[in-house]
């Protein structure tokens, strides 16, 4: 034992004393919301729902989001256009590039900039790399959530190859900080096309294997098939976005309907599925990864030469612009108002998850408590979100917050007692 251990913070008193803490860890209590489930290192915004019940049937569900609300939209109004790129990028670590892409393109719209063609192609490449990484992340997390750790480890292992590329191109694995008004900050590194081709071949190979695995491994399929079903009619009414929408058979994709960057020249094939359940989302996302690989290779092949950015002015003229891009999880919407100057007057951001929450909540109505977690699971981005639900019983004035799983348990016991 070296002496080093002594001055490390881990040395502490021998913990022999017994301590009584004020309350059990997860006691039933109205204020105990625990917005981070036990281990959700990879969740997005924690949310929670209040359910209004009549007996067993849910008559209303009220979501409560905003656990990660930081006040970014307000802060953006006091910062310069350039600083805001870095700020918006950090709304989320998963579709960081999509955020900055949407934002700078909205500004470029007001400035009426013609972005150099090479920059537009590079943007497509990075955006698609990000989609691959995000979809693989989600696929891995499905494994994690269903207790299939091996799947999680494998997919995340292969995801590192994409992150390698992203790091080589942009300089950071997560927050790319690569977009700037009028283009991208740096050209692609030299000799990158060889590694990209190699990695894409590898990813395609692996994803084909995983697609086969997730659609055939029975323990996984029984947990996902028929879960969280939505139909096209509901989807049309509630306007969810991204794969959640496409899994119902509606082929809406910003990249094809309203092409941005270079998607007018690199046209994606929109994948859909008609099942609308989690199982079909698994294969749908795998398909989208394969499609993204194809797009990247295509963009690489057609890549023009030239500059990658222009000199952009520091202030933006008066004007407003709405812009959206297809982030990995769906349409990401930005609305910008410029008062004419170096700071924006208002930037409105609508993240894809925000659009999908509603679908999940509204689908709860009419279901019984036992169905809740199942329904919320289907809401897509992640299994993580079906976490916190607070239950109102209209007559008893009782309210507590439970996790989705408790509810299912409750439901099961309910059915059991009914039968007996």
């Amino acid at each position: 034992m070296s002496d080093k251990g002594n001055n490390s913070p881990i040395s502490g008193e021998e913990g022999s004393a017994k301590r009584e803490v004020s309350a059990g860890l997860m006691q039933y209590s109205p204020e105990n919301l625990m917005p981070f489930g036990p281990v959700h290192p990879a969740l997005h915004e924690p949310e929670y729902f209040k359910l209004i019940l009549e007996g067993e049937v849910i008559v209303d569900a009220i979501p409560r989001i905003g656990f990660v609300h930081r006040g970014i939209e307000r802060a953006a109004q006091d910062r310069t256009w350039i600083k805001n790129i870095y700020l918006f990028e950090r709304i989320c670590g998963i579709c960081s590039f999509a955020h900055s892409l949407s934002y700078v393109q909205a500004i470029e719209g007001i400035l009426q900039f013609e972005v150099p063609k090479r920059a537009r192609y590079i943007r497509v490449i990075v955006a698609e790399l990000e989609r691959i990484h995000s979809h693989m992340l989600w696929l891995g997390l499905v494994g994690y959530w269903t207790g299939f750790d091996t799947l999680f480890m494998w997919i995340w292992k292969d995801r590192e190859h994409v992150l390698d590329l992203i790091e080589a191109i942009t300089g950071n694995r997560v927050h790319k900080s690569y977009n700037t008004i009028s283009g991208v900050r740096k050209d692609l590194p030299e000799n990158i096309s060889e590694p990209i081709k190699r990695e894409m071949a590898y990813i395609q190979d692996r994803i084909r294997y995983y697609r086969d695995l997730v659609s055939r491994e029975e323990t996984l399929v029984v947990r996902t098939r028929g879960i969280g079903k939505i139909d096209a009619e509901t989807a049309r009414k509630l306007c969810p976005v991204g794969p959640l929408l496409r899994s119902t058979g509606i082929a809406r994709d910003v990249r094809t309907e309203d092409p941005y960057a270079a998607y007018d020249e690199i046209v994606p094939e929109v994948k859909t599925s008609s099942q609308g359940d989690v199982a079909s989302l698994l294969t749908l996302r795998a398909d989208e990864v394969l499609e993204s690989c194809r797009l990247i290779l295509l963009a690489l092949e057609k890549m023009p030469s030239g500059p990658t950015k222009l000199t952009a002015p520091r202030s933006v003229p008066k004007g407003e612009n709405a812009f959206h891009v297809e982030a990995p999880r769906g349409e990401l919407f930005y609305y910008i108002r410029s008062p004419g100057g170096i700071t924006p007057e208002r930037v409105k951001i609508r993240t894809p998850t925000m659009a999908n929450v509603l679908t999940a909540t509204s689908m709860l109505k009419g279901y019984t408590l036992a169905d809740v977690p199942v329904v919320l699971t289907g809401m897509d981005p992640c299994f993580g979100c079906m976490d916190r639900i607070s239950v109102f019983e209209v007559d008893k004035e009782k309210q507590w917050s439970v996790r989705g799983e408790d509810l299912r348990q409750y439901g099961i016991s309910h059915y059991k007692t009914k039968k007996l």
């Binding site: 913070p9 910062r79 310069t80 350039i82 600083k83 805001n84 790129i85 870095y86 700020l87 950090r90 091996t150 799947l151 494998w154 292992k157 390698d164 790091e167 080589a168 191109i169 942009t170 300089g171 950071n172 927050h175 900080s177 900050r185 740096k186 590194p189 294997y209 086969d212 695995l213 659609s215 055939r216 491994e217 029975e218 323990t219 399929v221 058979g249 082929a251 094939e269 929109v270 994948k271 859909t272 599925s273 008609s274 099942q275 199982a279 079909s280 294969t283 749908l284 398909d287």
Partner: protein, 141 residues
Amino acid sequence: MVENDASEDSKKGMKVGGALGEMFRTAFQRPITKKYPFGAAQVAERFRGKLDIDPVKCTGCGVCEAVCPASVIQMVHTGTRKVGTREIETKRPTFDLYTCISCGQCVDDCRFEALRLTHEFELATVDKKSLVMDKALKVVN
């Protein structure tokens, strides 16, 4: 528009333990784990690590303070300097590197090339204050 064919998937038939083959294959391959804490770490050429300043090149113009999105940089008064007959206040930047997001905007905008992003990432520390970089202050006299 391509339909992701679910019926085709179900035709293939289910099996329990579909991952077993791949599992054994993986088990007998070398683990892909990198050596890092016990061997060299590889980072990409462009990797944006810790910010570094060359105190000699810095002129104290203050551009970096103005462009930093994370309010990392404060200009500190370091004294005065005679230019001809006038006394000019000199300033130098200090960096609270613990909030630095390594975006590189200051590096891009410093016209005197005093700043650069290194490849260093082993920055964990028990003392947050040790991440304040005030090298530039010390060189000025």
